[in-house]
């Protein structure tokens, strides 16, 4: 990016605000961060908190001269924002988003954005159950994964722009295609949401609720935390990732049946299962996700993430292999395709 690059963040909630704070925390004079929100007052609060250099409530003017536009609105609003900004995007501009599902967003980008801009889908794997600019934090993305889903139209430099941002905010890029991203996050993010909400609504609906509420300790409170999240986000996720969520609900029901059978007549089998789960989870927490990647698939994401942090090397590999979706995936994840969680 050129001197005094302009980044425009559209949607100044928890994610958009935290992106702004994380970038501003770097103190880069060469970066100007313009912020837009549907609610003008939020632009003012974001500027006051130091998440943006200035607000611009006129959306066309907000994207003028931007090198990078980050759409950090609720998922369903991304479509409308794309429609509105499409005629005003500078030629060669890079557009990204932060939506929790990707297949639908990639399709909207394909349909709505002009061919002379570069769309690279993104999804920072960080959040809180509470929303809004007041919840934003510069360290929100620190050490977390950031899914990167380049569109067919995105060139190397466009992907590199997003990688720079990811590096600046302290996250780790993970290249995925849209379908695989959506299946994965259905397992580790959307299924937990459904489980959390259903556990809460089930117990809350019991006639014994007052006693149950009195007895409920940290186990119940922690397991139902996601039920306090944004209902509109939950709905949007379910609307745009229906098949994968249904798939994982069905698999969890199967797993619950397995536990049920062990509870009924195989306490030793259940004990072994709990022992293995404890060991696996403790390892997951202690060693971090990359330990698994390296241990289980040495040439897969371990290598992918490592080389994408090098930036230039990634772009070089992309160039060598071309940008077709399938080949791109191969470039970053090894050629060894596996059933991605289905």
């Amino acid at each position: 990016m050129k001197d005094r690059s302009r980044i425009t963040i559209i949607g100044l909630g928890l994610i958009g605000g935290s992106l702004g704070l994380a970038l501003k925390a770097k103190g880069l004079d060469s970066l100007e961060i313009v912020g837009h929100d549907r609610d003008r007052a939020v632009e003012g609060r974001a500027a006051k908190l130091g998440a943006i250099d200035r607000g611009e409530h006129n959306l066309p003017r907000a994207v003028e001269q931007a090198q990078l536009v980050i759409i950090a609105t609720p998922i369903l609003a991304i479509r409308e924002v794309m429609e509105q900004i499409a005629p005003y995007l500078p030629k060669g501009c890079v557009v990204t988003d932060t939506g929790s599902t990707k297949a639908q967003v990639m399709q909207w980008a394909e349909d709505l954005l002009p061919p002379n801009v570069h769309f690279v889908g993104g999804h920072p794997m960080a959040g809180k159950e509470k929303q809004g600019i007041e919840q934003a934090e510069a360290v929100l993305f620190d050490g977390s994964a950031y899914a990167v889903i380049p569109s067919l139209r995105a060139d190397e430099a466009a992907v590199h722009s997003l990688l720079s941002i990811i590096s600046l905010i302290g996250a780790r890029p993970l290249f995925l295609d849209a379908a695989e991203h959506d299946r994965y996050v259905a397992a580790v993010s959307h299924l937990p949401l459904i489980v959390s909400a259903s556990l809460f609504t089930l117990v809350r609906s019991s006639p014994g609720w007052p006693d149950l509420a009195t007895l409920a300790a940290s186990a119940f409170r922690d397991l139902t935390r996601l039920a306090s999240g944004d209902p509109a986000l939950a709905r949007d996720i379910c609307l745009t990732n229906r098949d994968a969520i249904v798939h994982w609900i069905d698999r969890l029901v199967g797993e619950l049946h397995r536990y049920r059978e062990l509870v009924v007549d195989d306490s030793e089998g259940l004990y072994q299962l709990f022992i293995q789960a404890q060991a696996d989870r403790d390892r997951f927490l202690a060693e971090g996700p990359l330990a698994f990647a390296e241990a289980d698939k040495p040439h897969d994401i371990g290598a992918g993430v490592a080389s994408s942090l090098l930036g230039g090397a990634v772009v070089e590999r992309m160039r060598q292999r071309g940008l077709s979706k399938q080949r791109l995936k191969g470039a970053f994840k090894g050629e060894n395709e596996k059933d991605p969680g289905k």
Copy 2:
């Protein structure tokens, strides 16, 4: 209790150790806390941490002259401890436990303890997924519920002894009968454990695990926290509370099917469900459990907990109404019986 009352804690893990620390934090010179653990080294560590005044590795000697014996071992070990201490318990001694399930424990007490001691079952609704004396904290029980399940043999003074302990450690007593306790904790404690473990083992067993682990953020980590708990405790809970756990697994599966149907074809219904869940859970967290009790059943636990905090008043009510299990429940929970969560 008399001057220099002796309390003996058997089992110096997270719960036994925290009870000791919480009682010692009160600085009561009149209280001597003797600790026993299967592992002698743990007795030494507990003494060093200030959770007990002294260790006594000879179990008969540990309970000699005790006014109150607290059995804080794993559930299945409670039976063996009762057998071992039964011949040595002073006449009139109060015995309690801290086990996570109660019907089985009450039966063991009935079968194994001599008729001249008073058994009052207990269950502090507090814990951590990590075990052991090193995890013990004086504030572990602060503000949490403490289920009290008097046996038919326990007299008023015995119940009052346990209420004093509960008051000293900062917890709030809740009177329940054993069957109702076990059904309730199956919902708010054992079902979350099964859900947490099954979510973890399901996702961990996917061929996509390395990518899934890389993408997993706080939602997955928090929802699977209980899978890192003590496997033996999990097994003991399932062994001694099988029917209630199976009942709640089946109900959760039904609730997951309800969500599944809404995901498939009723996003507006799903949105309304998420809105209601968010509002109910936020209220649960903000107002605390007693708000629900008072709002939903004014003469039920609200009144029960309030009067049990008064101690003397509770004992008076127990005396007036007699100690039959059913009438005791009526005394503390109002006569208005409800289906307790089934």
